[in-house]
Amino acid sequence: MAFPDDLLKDAHHLAARGEKDLRQSSLRRAVSTAYYALFHLLIADFVLNWKRPDQRVRLGRMFDHSKMKQAKFQSANPTPVEEDLKTVIDAFAQLQEDRYTADYDVGTNWSPKGVENTLAIADEAFKAWRIVRKEKIAQDHLLTMFGARRM
């Protein structure tokens, strides 16, 4: 199983443990891990376009969380592919903010249902991305997430 899938699976394990034991630490790690699962899923697909495998890790480390969130996409009448891409984009922004809250805002408590919803968003984003990942519009979006301006 690929690293992003392992992370998502870990997120679910942590959420289940957090719900059972009502542990904030597990709930927070679940949210954070779900974000990183999607983060690495997208980066893994982007760097695959780089011809030299030995340079892909370095390329992946050039991604900036903030720029990735800033990459927007709008369509008045979205096609099914665009709808799936929007699902991924919206999920990424939500998960990124949730991850920040989970990792740094100790004044906010996570509830099991809140975490369950966050993980469901991640699951949906994985599913949607795997439908569209080879589409030109999806690959273009990865480039925008990397920091390139839209043409």
Binding site: K69, Q70, Q94, E97, Y104, N109, K113, N117
Partner: protein, 103 residues
């Protein structure tokens, strides 16, 4: 850092929130929101949605999706210059956690 002008007149947001909560009642018990900045400093609106215990147990994702969809239908977030974020919990969870921001 400045907030968009919508922060000075939140009436349209209040109306939208009330409409969505009423439309999706009793699954949605109430919705709170706050305008501020997200982690990266972008203006944002944070919705905190409290669901009935039954809805959160049996149809959490369905109801959550409906809340997000209806709020986006009623409020043009890109025009407002706000990033929307949505978080959910159940009535029982809030009764235990007793967080003021969710009350």
């Amino acid at each position: 850092m400045y907030l968009p002008s919508v922060a000075a007149n939140t009436l349209p947001i209040d109306r939208a929130v009330t409409e969505v909560a009423e439309r999706l009642a009793p699954d949605v018990q109430y919705i709170r929101y706050e305008i501020g900045w997200d982690w990266s400093g972008d203006p944002a609106i944070f919705f905190r949605v409290v669901l009935s215990d039954e809805a959160s147990q049996k149809r959490l994702r369905k109801v959550a999706t409906q809340v997000v969809w209806h709020l986006a239908r009623l409020l043009d977030f890109p025009s407002m210059g706000l990033f929307p974020y949505h978080n959910f919990r159940s009535v029982s969870e809030q009764a235990v956690l007793r967080e003021e921001a969710w009350a």
